[in-house]
Amino acid sequence: MSQPLIGKPIDRVEGPEKVTGAALYTGDHTFEGLLHAVVVTSTIANGRILSIDDAAAREAPGVVEVMTQRNAPRVNAGKQTPNNSILFLLQNDRVEFDGQPVAVVIASTLEEAMHAARLVRVEYQPLLPQMDFDAAERYVPEEMFGGPAASRRGDPQAAFVAAPARVEQTYRTPTEHHNPIETHATIAQWDGDRLTLHDSSQWAFGVQRRMASVFGVEPEQIRVIVPFVGGAFGSKGQPWSHVALAAMAAKLVGRPVKLIVTRPQMFAWIGHRPQTEQRITLGAERDGRLTSMTHDVLNEASISDEFIEGCGLFSRDLYAVENFAMSHALPRLNISKPTYQRAPGDSTGSFAMESAMDELAYELGMDPIELRLRNDAQRNPDNGKPYSSKHLRECYLRGAERFGWSRRNAKPRSMRDGRMLVGMGMATGSRETFRGEAKARIRMNAEGGVVVQCGTIEHGCGSPTVFAQLAAEILELPFERVRFEFGDTNLPEAPLAAGSQTSGSVGSVVVEAAQQLRAKLAEVGGRVPAGGIVLDVTSTPPEDEEYATQTFGAHFAEVAVDPDLCEVRVTRFRGAFDCGRILNAKTARSQLLGGIVWGISMALFEKTRYDVRTARIMNANLADYLVPTNADIPAVDIIFIEEDDPHVNPAGVKGIGEIGITGSGAAVANAVFHATGVRVRDLPITVEKLLD
């Protein structure tokens, strides 16, 4: 092999299709006899449906059917678990949140369906919604993500009381909605008792299994095809109500049905990041060594779910502190079900913990990098396992050098650029590396071309490119000779594309498949039989991991704050990251960039604004729910501390999709404090919080 493919910044194979508009997303597909469905949603957040008058809608042009609780097929809406909520499938008259589906209009064209949806009249018996975070009933989970939801090591209370330096603060993050560019969409087609779904999803197999349960059929009777996905970020990790509603509508009318979720509806029954309230205490010796840490988390939940924003895990696994405790509890509100959003727990948890660490640095009069270096853990502080690799120290030092941290005068309000107050802030990023079982089929034809098939999906991260790179390198083939096929339950099973685990999970099976093919080729003396070579391979993570596997990073933000008008603008951002082996420098940089942009967005812009009297969302559109524009994002400089990690998984990668959003918000918030002397512990940092 003349030059290694792995790490090369190869353009995405589907790039030309995407930028020319040729790439087909779920909603772009059409079929003979296809009908269009539009969901009608509740306008109360708690109560019962008394009656639905659909007469005018039924008479409107083009309308084929109106599906309500009266005529909806009876299905299994499911039970609540942390990963699956009850779906809202028109099975009863109960309303739990504003925006809950209450009817589906099915018409010949989208326009006709949209018009008729406006004509459906619903009469409710409303009850007062619960929106009081403090007063709401709290659900206290015992478990989260396979471990305890509350844990303790040592005696953090006693250590806190004894500590010469202490921080004790509460931090808040608001409800945030994912808003990928492509809104959710489903096309359902029945052929007898067999169902084909085109769906915008992070996990074709998850949709398959859930829909099998909803319709009482075997998973094999359902095929799920996931074309290109225009962003997901956790919002497409599980099938929401509309997936089943599309299939129910298709069953009811006996024709294929397309259902595209509208942008305002992205704030309705599609999940969101829950608001959190995080109480943190830190105790330290005067030399900066942490002696006590606690992280107690409340996150909003809906009336019928138990999704936990596991903020405490960020703190549990990061610094070398002997005495630690965390807890999680969920106030139940009349809202739609929260769900995973990019780096769930770690993005929100890092804002709180890394803000608190900055406060401790000021309390100690110590440089915040020095404080973190003094508490750098050599082993995972909770389970004592050695890290498969860890280069956080290099991230701090090289990031600081690149950023020019030494120019920082630590005193708040001490640095200026003309009229503007200048602030520099830093924070640690960290995210556990996950891995799931993945299967793949690798086929080499007689001409030597290779196809790797795996039912994972492509949601903008570059999977078809990087997996072809991996296989081509091992097989010593030109990149162009390897094609990666994805997005179909008829292909070998892949795990959920979430938790930054796809490169490590699917990457491992691609590596093993390519290695087995290489061995097979050697066996046959390099002569591929006429029928080609086909191998089915499964890559399973070990039952008991010997190592702690984590990605790390250090974020450095510079902000300029107008001292009178209090507008905050991020002027520079630098980050250094330890993510294991980098498969493609270009797509890797894009992943980090996207995460950092979102961290800036969390810090300064995003908030879903409820009218707390009615529990109705009042900014359910992209003009009023603010995300950054290009003008809000400076040039972002990203460096990777590359390393060989022989322990983490066969692909040698630690995951890259979420580390960028962990810590980046805190770095901005810390920079705002440095600039202004005002510590905002309640995101987003908007003008009114900085006016004195």
């Binding site: 008008l565 950054p628 290009n630 006016l691």
Partner: protein, 325 residues
């Protein structure tokens, strides 16, 4: 969106004829507001009368004013050399409005008739006296971070969203209209109506009346003008507070001043109080702060928007500081 008919008018008179046949019709020019409102069912006109073919896009100097055709696009006005040199705050306000894509489509006439971003006005499932008279005001005690604190009433606190109109208020521009009753001119201070107990009435336009042009006086000291807009993000956002000012300086003494505020009032808010405080005063921060106090003396917040009052003061002080340099 409801089904609707569409007619293309060739002249102002044919537009008016179309209107006289369907008095619930709406005119459409750039469409950046009306289509938005139709999609969310706030507007449901049975007929859209397309006025884009009307010859109303010219920009010309007539005597001591610049007359801007109603169909001139925001971008064209922002790039006009006379506007830029003689009334720079108009160009600044336009450049800070919306996004480049919207500025390429949106027209000057349409911008004057832009509807509020109040979330209750824009959500038909909520009460709003402006949209559904008598239904109540959801914003008074609701999510009111972006609502107005000047020119409000117990029936409505919706903020006027236009940046351009704030500078036009400072200039006291003249709006030229044509209607079934003939042509007339309306001074800007008579054009906008505070909500009072009829928040659904936003302007003094009669039904069917069409804006044909706006005349901006070429103020002798208009070159010393600026517009300062504070917003949550750097682009594509509405003002939390804004100020349009022009100063006539005699050395370091203020001879005359024009002051208008945006983002904090139910209409583009000219402030005679601030202008009076500045007249004859030295161009110092102390004078600017007194003017800011005078401008906001009647402001009343409703909780979520309380911050706008100090913010608007600081915004006005900043604008005056910039203009005085």
């Amino acid at each position: 969106m409801n089904p609707f008919a569409y007619a293309k008018a060739a002249s102002p008179s044919s537009a008016l004829t179309e209107f006289s046949n369907e008095r619930s019709a709406r005119y459409i020019a750039g469409g950046t507001t009306i289509l938005d409102l139709m999609k969310i069912a706030v507007e449901a006109p049975p007929l859209l009368i397309d006025i884009n073919a009307l010859p109303l896009a010219s920009i010309e100097v007539t005597g001591d004013a610049i007359r801007i055709g109603a169909l001139a696009r925001l971008r064209d006005v922002a790039e006009n050399e006379i506007v830029r040199s003689r009334l720079p705050f108009v160009a600044i306000a336009l450049e800070q409005s919306a996004s480049p894509q919207l500025r390429n489509m949106a027209t000057i006439g349409g911008n004057l008739l832009q509807r509020t971003r109040c979330p209750y006005f824009r959500d038909i499932a909520t009460p709003c006296n402006k949209r559904a008279p008598g239904s109540g005001c959801g914003a008074l005690d609701g999510e009111n971070r972006r609502e107005a604190a000047l020119g409000t009433s117990e029936h409505c606190i919706a903020t006027h969203p236009s940046d351009l109109a704030v500078t036009l208020a400072a200039l006291d521009a003249t709006v030229h209209v044509t209607g079934l009753g003939g042509n007339r001119e309306i001074a800007l201070h008579d054009f906008y109506r505070v909500p009072g107990d009829t928040p659904q009435v936003e302007t003094s336009l009669e039904p069917g009346e069409l804006i044909v042009a706006v005349s901006l006086p070429l103020l002798s000291y208009g070159a010393r003008s600026t517009y300062v807009k504070v917003r949550d993000r750097a682009q594509y956002d509405f003002a939390l507070a804004s100020a349009a000012v022009a100063l006539d300086l005699d050395g370091s003494t203020i001879r005359e001043a024009r002051v208008a505020l945006g983002g904090i009032a139910t209409i583009p808010w000219r402030s005679p109080g601030a202008e009076g405080a500045l007249r004859g005063a030295p161009a110092t921060r102390a004078s600017f702060e007194r003017a800011a106090e005078a401008a906001l003396v009647d402001a009343r917040g409703r909780g979520g928007n309380d911050y706008k009052i100090p913010l608007a003061k600081r915004t006005l002080v900043r604008a005056l500081e910039i203009a005085a340099v």
